[in-house]
Subunit: 305 residues, 2 copies
Amino acid sequence: MNPAELDQLVSQIGEEILARLSAKKLAGAEGLGIANTVCPGCTQRCAQTCEAKTKKIIACGADRISASEKLTRIAPEIASLIDHTILKPDATADEVSKVCTEARKYSFASVCINPFWVPFVAKLLKGSPVKVCTVIGFPLGANTTDIKVTETENAVLCGAEEVDMVINVGALKSGDYEFVERDIRCVAQAAHRGGAILKVIIETALLDDQQKAMACTLAKLAGADFVKTSTGFAKSGATAADIALMRSIVGPGMGVKASGGIRSLEDVKIMEAAGASRIGASASVKIMEAAGGGTIANAAKQDGY
Amino acid sequence: MNPAELDQLVSQIGEEILARLSAKKLAGAEGLGIANTVCPGCTQRCAQTCEAKTKKIIACGADRISASEKLTRIAPEIASLIDHTILKPDATADEVSKVCTEARKYSFASVCINPFWVPFVAKLLKGSPVKVCTVIGFPLGANTTDIKVTETENAVLCGAEEVDMVINVGALKSGDYEFVERDIRCVAQAAHRGGAILKVIIETALLDDQQKAMACTLAKLAGADFVKTSTGFAKSGATAADIALMRSIVGPGMGVKASGGIRSLEDVKIMEAAGASRIGASASVKIMEAAGGGTIANAAKQDGY
């Protein structure tokens, strides 16, 4: 696709997104900007925690599994959705090691760490079904494409099976969609060459609804496997409204990962009901304890999407 | 220096630092942990803004220029201390361009941007005395050394004259001083090969006093040109107490950059009085207006250290 064709496509998609957003708002469903409205279920602004609001949001989209089905998942299935995450800059070897032990115990989908820790974690998880996940251009996304690609290649060589990259938010907001798409595509190709999958962090806290939709569209066009809400380092994280929007844009064929501020089993259920197929969390053990999950070594694992 | 020699040196330095910290506390100067104490000047916890406290801190060290001399600097001299900074991930081309125009107008020391913007800023600052400064492994520092080195080499090739790298805080806290020193040394060599200088961000908010002192010592051993307090993305930024501690460790021959939360002329004066030779700020224009600085094109510029 040449730049002119991409521009035209992006323009068409933008119009379609605006039309969909307007239609949903007109239909009285409060639409996808619902995160900023007072919730009828509990009279508070509570996009992350209110199940009544989540169900209302879900009603806006036809391509999501019903809340009731999702809310009855058993503990091993919940564990298989979770990227057990430790991304704080001052994480020590002992702390990272503990996270790996916990991930083996509960059979989480992956352990998500900064690139420095990839070889260490790959060694600790060897022989387990838990995947090694790392982050690229994290958390600002304002590195060059060359660096994102090299960081991806190195991480995959060292054992990363999943990479979560941050888009260039500044370029997106400057309207340089061609660059943003190419940036993602180059990293997707590097990940796929090494047999890894790519999740694309759009950092929802910094975007309006149209920009979120555009970022998801570009990630899909560029061949990414997932879109993901947040780095966990911005002013806010995942909301059910954003998950619903992202799912409506990428359709059922891609993964949607909710991350940032997910601290309870209730949060997980709400995000899943809204359309998330993967959850990023550091409170994963607390979540599993609430789900009644003990040691689930070698439990059946699914990819989460 | 081999690992055993480094370990021995680090151990000796650690003992010396502890001795100095204890001596200062015993001498009733409240020492370098003063940031956490109530200030006698204004009865508040105000390490960043209280001049009385700063002077007390300065009295702890003999190697700093007196506050009175520093506090009477004229506007162009203040401008020459400031790295005019825009590091938010969603900065647009228009915003970065505006920062460059402001930097030319006031003759700031540099414009500090994320790596993606280096070629753009290098073009906009061409022919001016304002340097191009970028950040490496930013803001978490938990990338591999290879990536930090490659990012530095690429940035320098694209026009960066100063690079501000983040140390591997997790490795430091894990006690792997040999790795931390080598990480810095490799980046310093890459920067110096390209004619750039290296500032080492130790992220004071995540360290205790002994760790701060250790990080400064390792940066000095590794051949860095500056130590710098903060990324601006942690829970807190520069304090006068930290600047005083850092200056006391690196001595007069290295630069000390205060960054994170510096929003007023008063803040600049306090940091400078405490021992800072460079200031990172995004509120630089407001600071210059308070200093009475108008257009100071082509004003005499000094390196700030």
